[in-house]
């Protein structure tokens, strides 16, 4: 079987075939990727993996009924089966008056060049990747004699090409690269072990942190956990480090998803225009930041990915919507359709961040008389319907404004509604380490459960 090249022509050809079989509208999402990673451990190569993949997804409408299907077998015969499968599925689903493609006039007209591909993915050789992963792990192992073991260092690189076309005649494509480096050292003392990790992740090779910096930071994080203990159950102020703050934003993004909202499965139902967070909080979603991990020139339905303020000084200004969830809520899409190949659209944030505040992180710690600096969360104890929040946590106890001893095996609990309202101080240390970013945050109180 001859494998076909992915192209806008192929996509429109598939949509034409579907039309002949009775489909009234449809869209095609296709992607191909090249990826490679190496893992090293204790100075030796541990794993090398390389791959190339292609995938094609189709969604068809028969009036107000729809279905989707996908395949990795991209041959003429497999595509014919794909169209038939999709038609059969669509005939079995119910009519849904809200379904359908976006209006033709809403589709992205100009596709901005967002500088997402550095063109270097093939010039970073396997040996380069091994060298970088080894250097990062070595820096961790050499920082302190208490770093006694390692789960290893990794380096990954990938390039992807994404194409989207729909029966309104739209077609667009973009390419993006991504690179990642991480180290997970193990520290030990008095017979007990602690592991931590650090990473750098970027669309451009040149923007990655130096491997030595990643390794040292990973080792410092593992070392500062040694000798951790429980604390007494109490209510106290809590400071989130930027990774933990970003985690809070992830829950918020899920609760702002149009799908959660129209289903009544979010604590933010009906809150548009209301104050839902302290006025220190401004949150932005922007898919147009050049070179950023969450940027793309159009969303999973071909709509523009503009910058919008989601929370403006505590007031909820926008949900995250695609066409379908927008229609359900009687609002236009916000350009947040995210799309797996062969799935109907969902909603996801693009570059979603909490704007930096005025306080240096040290200043935030200084303001706490007795409280908990959280550096790690565990588990899934978040209920987005009610906002109830209870998660395992580890970090460092703050006493009279200073970080003192490490803490583990405790939980922090509250409710997301109150937690957002209790954000008392916002750090100045916003840094884009991923698609979702936030600075250090101080929450006036949470319940810490321990002894």
């Amino acid at each position: 079987m001859e494998r076909l090249e992915l192209s806008a022509e192929l996509a429109h050809d598939i949509l034409k075939q579907a039309k002949q079989k009775g489909a009234t509208a449809g869209d095609v999402m296709m992607a191909e990727s090249d990826s490679a990673f190496v893992a090293v451990r204790l100075g030796e190569v541990d794993k090398i993996s390389q791959a190339q993949e292609k995938r094609l997804g189709l969604r068809l409408f028969f009036g107000a009924s729809s279905a989707s299907a996908s395949t990795s077998d991209i041959s003429t015969a497999a595509i014919e089966r794909l169209v038939d499968d999709t038609c059969a599925l669509a005939r079995a689903t119910a009519k849904d008056e809200f379904s359908g493609l976006p209006a033709p006039e809403a589709l992205a007209k100009e596709l901005p060049d967002l500088d997402l591909d550095d063109g270097k993915v093939h010039s970073v050789s396997v040996d380069d990747k091994i060298r970088l992963a080894l250097a990062a792990e070595k820096a961790a192992l050499e920082l302190d004699p208490r770093i006694t073991n390692s789960e290893g260092g990794e380096f990954s690189a990938g390039a992807a090409r994404v194409l989207y076309a729909n029966s309104h005649g739209f077609s667009g494509e973009y390419r993006g690269t991504s690179y990642g480096m991480s180290v997970a050292p193990v520290a030990s003392s008095n017979g007990s072990m602690q592991r931590d990790y650090w990473y750098s992740s970027q669309r451009k090779f040149a923007r990655l942190e130096a491997p030595e910096a990643v390794g040292r930071r990973a080792a410092e994080r593992a070392l500062r956990r040694l000798g951790a203990r429980k604390v007494k159950t109490c209510e106290c102020p809590v400071v989130f480090d930027p990774e933990i703050s970003a985690n809070l934003l992830r829950h918020l993004a899920s609760a702002l998803s149009g799908y959660a909202l129209y289903k009544g499965a979010s604590f933010l139902v009906g809150k548009l225009g209301e104050k839902i967070a302290s006025e220190n909080v401004t949150i932005v979603d922007d898919g147009t930041i050049p070179g950023a991990l969450g940027s793309k020139p159009f969303d999973g339905e071909g709509l523009p990915t503009a910058k919008k303020t989601i929370i403006d000084r505590g007031v909820l200004r926008s949900y995250l919507l695609d066409t379908y969830s927008g229609r359900k809520l009687k609002m236009p899409s916000t350009g947040n359709a995210s799309r797996g190949i062969g799935d109907s659209p969902g909603v996801g944030p693009l570059n979603f961040y909490l704007a930096a505040g005025p306080h240096a992180p040290e200043q935030i710690l200084t303001s706490v008389d007795a409280g908990f600096y959280v550096t790690e969360l565990m588990g899934f104890g978040v209920n987005l319907v009610t906002g109830d929040y209870s998660r395992g946590a580890a970090g460092i106890w703050i006493d009279k404004g200073k970080l003192t001893y490490p803490v583990e095996e405790v939980t922090i609990a509250g409710n997301l509604k109150e937690m957002l309202g209790n954000i008392e101080m916002v750090g100045s240390d916003l840094e884009f380490r991923g698609r979702i970013a936030a600075p250090t945050l101080k929450l006036s109180r949470m319940t810490v459960a321990g002894n």
Binding site: V45, S66, S390, T411, A449
Partner: protein, 485 residues
Amino acid sequence: MAQEIIKAENFFDRRFGVTGRDVEKLLSQALERKADYADLYFEYRVNEGVSLEEGLVKHGSRSTSNGVGVRVLSEAKTGYAYTDDITIDNLALAARTAQAIAQNRSADTPVRVGRETVQAHDLYPVKAPATDVALEKKTALLYEIDRLARSLDPRVKNVFVSFASEEKIVLVASSKGWLAGDIQPLARLNVTCIAEERGNRQLGTYGGGGRVEFDFFLDKNNYERFTREAVRQAILNLEAEDAPAGTMDVVLGPGWPGILLHEAIGHGLEGDFNRKKVSAFSERIGQKVASELCTVVDDGTLPSRRGSLNLDDEGTPTQRTVLIEKGVLRGYLQDRLNAGLMKMAPTGNGRRESYAHIPMPRMTNTFMLAGESAPEDILRSVKKGLYAVSFGGGQVDITNGKFVFSASEAYLIEDGKVTRPVKGATLIGNGPDVLTRVSMVGHDLKLDEGVGTCGKDGQSVPVGVGLPTIRIDGITVGGTAAENK
């Protein structure tokens, strides 16, 4: 019947024209640089999903994937390459890529496959996979569940039902000479309800499945029970109070709370972590890590279970492995690489999410054997504590042993009686310590309904858990009601 139509061994030859002879040549190529071992993993998979919300089956989707992963092992090193374009040329390229880790010495290693036979189980003789059942039957079931859920209580405001099915055909060819295939069906039904009363909205979720046929779900004892449970939980949560915070005695109900074992014990006993000596259980075989009441096993051979496999993803038949026997640590869960390096036998736990993933030691069905106490006596023995009967997900830090899991249905125990329902709270503890606090084990061992998916290093695989009712003396409960302490 199905075996005749598609025998895994013949499937890839017929569909992609890759013959036994080709496989031998590829494996010889993979070993060219004097590696220790090579294998090919062929996979063809169909996934189908239909879902209902707001009274409508709005979505149906179907995906087909195929691909091959080529792996080369040289001492502790793994070279891996995969392709979703199954041609001889691509496989030869993958074999060359994967051997990049081996020493640069040429060797002539002829490989003959098919001489070794693998004694695979026959745990899920499904005649018609759920992926092949007419869609109309599935949508009819979804509508019936929606109708039933809404009829049970007027406070049920929305119902979400999903049915997911999968058929996976795999074939493993190894340089040690075996060629072993399997056809793996998998299906799962999930019911979620939102109940609302005076602005208070609460969720209830229940479901189940396994390596079963579609008819399994039509049994009233299944779809109807799942639906009633989802509704009951949502309604119960309407009156739940804030959960307590602090250390207290906890009774875990039977079945799904076995996730405790999966997180607190199971992961820490996976061979890779122990070979690297990064687990809180490293080098503790033979030591006491639990109370004498506790015997914990991992068993991939239970018929039709979600976590079961006829053979693992390296072609090793699955087995029952004793992890903890009367409180003493007995064994690890192994794949080929880690078993070899630790000079132990593989235990049939080498699993991978797909052809695009490198195998690792993973659990199958992990559970504690029944004890002798009556569940009522266990509850009666607790003065003040928590009774947790259903959970969401859990997580563990292998190295320091700390684990969490989150209750989705729990009650206060006061003077030996189960009293008021409390909101979901996270339980947190220390793996090597928590089972030493087990002071009573019930005679009511139950396996979960077949909903578990375990994530490790970015790979998801279906698993099962099980537990009798147990009492744990003193574990931290992470609610918000600190004053209860």
